[in-house]
């Protein structure tokens, strides 16, 4: 029995470390490539440490012809607006389903559940035609509005609000606070951590979206980061500017990493809350 325990720990650590290396290697490679010259990247060396350390790739992002800065801020705008809309609308819908007794609440609930079973491909074509008919083509609205709510997070919020005691609210309402007041002044402030969880994943979804941007954004000035990266890579037929592509891939990850580290506390809190339920 003692023998077993002696073996177990090193084996577990080995598994964890090997998997950490498997996870990190592609990223390390990309980061190191972003400090290499084009010649060295395509020269076929396997060294992680650049031979001729250079900042040229990063300088080129801002001085070259590709509109990296523009794409970056387009992505920021879409992700921030989309996330804010989702937080407000998902919480409102979740709150109504959890706390208010109204006619049709069960029907609405089933209608929402039903949407989860429908794969995106079925909706892709009609959505495209609707976006076109609404005049949203080549605008950020095409990306933000259809995704301004998210059924999964409506459920999450509903579940969270259901755990709220109705007594607090009833007391507040007897004191003359309106429903909207209860929602904005009592319910929302109490759900900060679950909102942070929601916001993290929704922001991530908008930031990393490729399909919608590719379908709806045609003007180079309107591109988002992922679309811009893909366009840069594919334009150069057969001859990829790996230094630019990889550097920009690295840059595109920085805001998410910062957000993940800053919001990590809330993020883990949210997960713990889920686990304790």
């Amino acid at each position: 029995m003692k023998k077993q325990r002696k073996y177990a720990k090193p084996i577990l650590y080995t598994i964890l470390i090997i998997y950490a290396l498997i996870t990190l290697y592609p990223f390390l490679w990309a980061v190191s490539a972003s400090f290499k010259t084009f010649k060295e990247i395509t020269g076929g060396g396997a060294s992680i440490i650049p031979k001729n350390f250079t900042f040229d790739n990063y300088i080129n992002l801002f001085t070259g012809t590709a509109k990296y800065t523009k794409w970056f801020f387009n992505s920021v705008f879409i992700a921030v607006t989309g996330t804010l809309l989702n937080i407000i609308l998902n919480s409102m819908a979740g709150y109504a389903l959890a706390q208010i007794e109204f006619k049709g609440s069960k029907a609405f609930f089933s209608l929402l559940i039903a949407t989860l079973t429908i794969p995106g491909q079925v909706l892709m074509i009609p959505n495209y035609l609707i976006i076109k008919a609404l005049g949203f083509m080549n605008t950020f609205s095409a990306i933000i509005i259809p995704s301004a709510i998210n059924v999964t997070y409506i459920f999450l919020m509903r579940q969270y609000f259901m755990s709220f005691s109705k007594q607090v609210e009833e007391a507040a309402r007897i004191d003359g606070v309106s429903r909207a007041g209860c929602f904005f002044r009592i319910a929302l402030p109490l759900s900060r951590s679950i909102i942070a969880t929601q916001a993290t994943f929704i922001f991530l979804g908008f930031w990393n979206d490729f399909t919608k941007a590719m379908l709806y954004l045609k003007d180079v000035n309107k591109f988002t980061l992922p679309l811009g990266i893909q366009a840069t890579q594919s334009q150069s037929s057969g001859f990829t500017m790996w230094n630019e592509t990889l550097t920009f891939s690295v840059v595109s990850m920085i805001p998410i990493l910062i957000m993940y580290i800053v919001l990590n506390k809330y993020f883990m809190q949210g997960l713990r809350m889920e686990g304790e339920k």
Binding site: M1, Y13, L16, T23, P26, F27, W29, A30, I41, G44, A46, L89, N90, M92, A93, A96, L97, I100, E101, S105, F108, L111, L112, T117, I118, P119, G120, Q121, V122, L123, M124, I125, P126, Y128, L129, I145, P146, A148, I149, R179, A180, F183, L204, W207, N208, F210, L225, P226, L227, Q233, T240, W242, L246, S249, S252, M253, I256, Y260, N264, G275
Partner: protein, 303 residues
């Protein structure tokens, strides 16, 4: 009497509040989901020409073509292979990793931070990095030749036998952390005393994993596996970026979702057929997830 009146007024205001609160969600879903489904079904029975904007009813023609055209068959076969490999692998590996992380390990936080990286990264950036790794000048060749499993530098992106496998590896690698996190938070519910009791009884870590962790995680496994099936059946981004939308080389990265896109939005200009394929895909996904759910439930009878 007065009381009742007040309640009624409250109920009216409750209804107004409720509908305003849930309204935006319902409006958006109505337009982009409910109406869209009917449009998709209608289009699947028509020959649609987007350039001329004509809809000609052609009955079941589109559906018939799905079962006769080789390229469509190839897309379905690629996708099925993809799902069959990726969905189970990612589920099993995510559970194992979560269990390992959940045993009293130092630096758990650090490992989690590292493991989560792929989930944070866009499919575009990930695909770029993987494409470079497997390109002619990429490290896969360099390392492979040094270790002897690659004979000569090859551009693996042009090898039809390898391309789908690269996307499989990339997909498994990038989705594991998300599912691992789900498992990890569910594992907090399993009482530590169970493990401690088993340890006192002399059960090996492997036995503890099989007899405590796996059965306790059954509902989560079902969720992860079905989510995985649904996600992998719809794989689009990585195949599109990998092949720049073509599904090549030699249709080796052509997935059903990518083919739907091609028929609808490229010069093929056949939105009716694309809609029919999308609907068949939806049916396949629903059947597969129901089957997976049933399989998981029936297993319960024996354990």
């Amino acid at each position: 009497m007065k009381m009742k009146k007040k309640m009624n007024r409250n109920m009216v205001s409750d209804h107004i509040q409720a509908y305003t609160f849930i309204g935006p969600a319902i409006i958006i879903l109505s337009i982009f989901v409910y109406i869209s489904i009917f449009v998709a079904i209608y289009m699947s029975f028509n020959q649609v020409n987007l350039f001329k904007w004509t809809f000609d009813f052609n009955g079941l023609d589109n559906y018939r073509r799905i079962f006769t055209e080789d390229r469509i068959f190839k897309a379905f076969s690629n996708t099925t292979k993809f799902v069959a490999v990726v969905a189970p692998t990612q589920t099993v590996l995510a559970l194992i990793l979560a269990a390992v992380l959940n045993s009293k390990i130092r630096g758990q936080k650090g490992f989690r931070l590292v493991y989560f990286l792929p989930t944070l990264t866009s499919s575009t950036a990930l695909t770029m990095i993987f494409m470079f790794i497997f390109s002619i000048s990429g490290p896969f060749n360099t390392i492979g030749m040094a270790l002897g499993f690659v004979k000569e530098a090859t551009n693996w992106l042009n090898e039809p036998k390898v391309t789908l496998k690269i996307i499989m590896i990339m997909n498994i690698w990038s989705t594991i952390p998300y599912y691992m996190t789900i498992y990890l938070s569910a594992l907090q519910d399993v009482p530590m005393s169970l493990y401690e009791a088993a340890e006192v009884d002399g059960a090996s870590p492997f036995k503890r994993f099989m007899n405590i962790t796996v059965p306790h995680m059954k509902p989560i496994t079902s969720f992860v596996f079905i989510t995985g099936i649904i996600g992998t059946f719809q794989m689009f981004d990585q195949a599109y970026i990998f092949s720049n939308g073509a599904g090549g080389p030699q249709n080796s990265t052509l997935t059903v979702a990518l083919m739907v896109y091609q028929y609808a939005f490229s010069l093929l200009n056949d939105m009716g057929l694309a809609s029919a394929v999308a609907i068949i895909l939806a049916v396949v996904i629903i059947i597969a997830s129901l089957a997976a759910n049933k399989l998981n439930k029936s297993e319960k009878l024996y354990s």
